[in-house]
């Protein structure tokens, strides 16, 4: 069930250039099921900003009723969010959407997790849950530049982790697909979150594989009511058939929607 709750800020930390990790506590943690779901956050008050901001759940700690978000300071909303300090509360609506299907990879199988930039955070909880299920995880994390790299250490605990930067200032130089090609990484299933060009590249490259992609779209309501976030389905590319990123997604099976 979706809840609206004023969650307590437990921690706020800048983990890379303009990248923040926010730890929140609230009852709605008990409603979080699969990794890849998101929350919709009201960062302001009656003065604004008006709309909520969608942010993926990065990790979940059920016992403490805490969860973390990792976000990039982008515009006015995320700037306000980064100013929240422990003791303050944040109005959260969630958990929202359908996340990554953890059970699609069997115990003993191998899952490749590919993240691009601010698409990396939701993979963290996924990696944990897959590992817990006995799945071997391999991570390929792409960033623009060394100063915005984060998460390598945490991911490395669960499995092999390749970091790649566009400018080569950290890890391998190039795109995530370059690393996958170069090391001929093999896997049973692929889970990815990141910018659309990255998702498209993966879709083309691995069209015959079991692939799950997490999409982003500008949102109004976040709960399926406003039709802001729809995408076409491949059966009917110019027709009426559609999926909503906020409720049908944000994670879709490859081929389910048109990127």
């Amino acid at each position: 069930m979706i809840k609206q709750e004023n969650c307590l800020v437990v921690d706020q930390l800048e983990i890379a250039d303009s990248i923040y990790k926010l730890t929140l506590q609230g009852e709605l943690v008990t409603e979080m099921n699969n990794p890849g779901q998101f929350v919709h956050i009201r960062v302001g008050d009656e003065s604004g900003p008006l709309l909520r901001r969608p942010i993926s759940i990065s990790s979940i700690d059920r016992s403490k009723k805490q969860f973390t978000l990792v976000f990039r300071k982008e515009g006015i909303g995320t700037s306000k969010l980064k100013d929240k300090v422990p003791g303050m509360s944040v109005d959260v609506l969630g958990p929202l959407g359908n996340g990554f299907p953890v059970n699609e990879t069997e115990s003993g199988g191998t899952a490749l997790l590919v993240g691009g930039g601010i698409g990396v955070p939701p993979l963290l909880e996924l990696s944990k849950q897959l590992t817990a299920n006995g799945v071997k995880v391999i991570h390929v994390l792409g960033f623009q530049s060394g100063n915005v790299v984060f998460g390598e250490e945490e991911f490395s605990k669960n499995g092999e982790t390749y970091v790649v930067t566009v400018d080569g200032t950290f890890g391998y130089k190039g795109y995530v697909t370059d690393v996958i090609n170069q090391y001929q990484i093999d896997f049973d299933s692929l889970y990815a979150c990141g910018p659309t060009p990255m998702l498209k590249a993966l879709e083309t490259r691995f069209s015959n594989k079991k692939v799950f992609l997490s999409l982003e779209e500008r949102m109004g309501c976040g709960i399926g009511a406003c039709f802001a976030c729809v995408c076409h389905t491949p059966e009917d590319e110019t027709g009426y058939s559609y999926k909503k990123v906020c409720t049908d997604g944000p994670v879709f099976r490859i081929g389910e929607v048109v990127l």
Binding site: I2, R42, E46, L51, G224, A225, C229, Y242
Partner: protein, 313 residues
């Protein structure tokens, strides 16, 4: 409760608060949060004869105290609304106001005649003011004579009272209101969105794929209040007011301006519980202000305090 009941043509409302069209879908999503029977009414998403996908994405953008949308009237089409959405809504004790859209007179007539026969549809809202469709829509909403003729035709085929939704993007809103009143409208709903645009700093291009969109939210409230203030002094049909309503105080302001009921749009996205919250807060606010019933607030900005009769339950 007895402070809030309001009677309008076709609508016997337990309270004058309803979600605005397009901001509530067909109610399914919000039914997760609260019992829809607590609402005064529900204005469902615009319905067109055939299903519509609407505009490409991005379809929304934020602005200062507002948002732009260019959904483009996405909806499952008349048939599905009749066979799936309206029957589903029937489980709730709440009158439905069906928002009727189209790109030609025939479209409007087809949807109006059929949807008005549904048992829980108590009124139509004729959407002649959507800024986000290329053909039709806005043209009907800006030329008084065209609006009047359309209203007349729709009245002829509708089994329930017809409210006409006015566009604020006109030089003279009173002329538009008088024309549709003349055409036989039973009521007005106002305002629809202002036309607006936002450009992306990096690309220089509009953020919305449709380029322009409809501006809603608190930013437009002063425009709506002024238009309702003007129009309510010139027409003899009731007005359902909307534009930026966020709390009970805003509702009272709309009543003062001349509205007889209100709709809440964008605020549903900010707080999914906003409608029941406002319904909860209204009675004590009304009492605090010294009124016995919300209808006493109506038109206070301009009305000599004569007794108001027609809306009292």
């Amino acid at each position: 409760m007895s402070l809030l009941n309001v009677k309008l043509p076709g609508l016997d409302l337990k309270n004058p608060i309803m979600p605005a069209s397009g901001c509530f879908g067909f109610g399914r999503e919000f039914s997760q949060f609260y019992d829809l029977s607590s609402l005064g009414a529900i204005m469902i998403k615009a319905t067109t004869p055939l299903p519509r996908f609407g505009n490409p994405t991005p379809r929304v953008a934020e602005t200062s105290a507002g948002m732009l949308n260019a959904i483009g009237l996405q909806n499952p089409g008349l048939e599905k609304v009749l066979t799936e959405e309206l029957p589903w809504l029937n489980q709730f004790d709440v009158p439905i106001i069906a928002n009727v859209a189209g790109s030609s007179e025939e479209d409007y007539i087809e949807v109006a005649s059929q949807i008005s026969k549904a048992s829980n549809v108590h009124a139509l809202e004729l959407n002649i003011s959507c800024p986000n469709v290329k053909t039709g829509g806005i043209a009907f909403g800006t030329i008084p004579e065209v609006a009047k003729q359309l209203t007349k035709k729709v009245k002829e085929v509708s089994s329930v009272p017809v409210y006409v939704k006015l566009s604020p993007n006109v030089t003279n809103i009173v002329d538009m209101a008088l024309a549709v009143e003349d055409g036989g409208a039973d009521g007005l709903t106002m305002i629809n969105t202002l036309i607006g645009m936002r450009l992306d700093l990096k690309t220089g291009q509009p953020i919305l794929a449709n380029r322009s969109g409809g501006l809603s939210g608190p930013a437009i409230k002063p425009v709506a209040i002024r238009m309702i203030y003007e129009v309510s002094q010139h027409v003899n049909i009731p007005i359902i007011g909307m534009g930026g309503i966020q709390n009970a105080e805003d509702v009272i302001e709309y009543f003062y301006a001349g509205a007889s009921a209100v709709a809440v749009g964008t605020a549903n996205f900010v707080d999914p519980f906003i409608c029941p919250k406002i319904i909860d807060e209204l009675p004590s606010l009304i009492e605090k202000l010294g009124f016995d019933h919300i209808s006493e607030c109506e038109g206070r900005s301009w009305r000599k305090h004569e007794r108001l009769t027609y809306h009292r339950g």
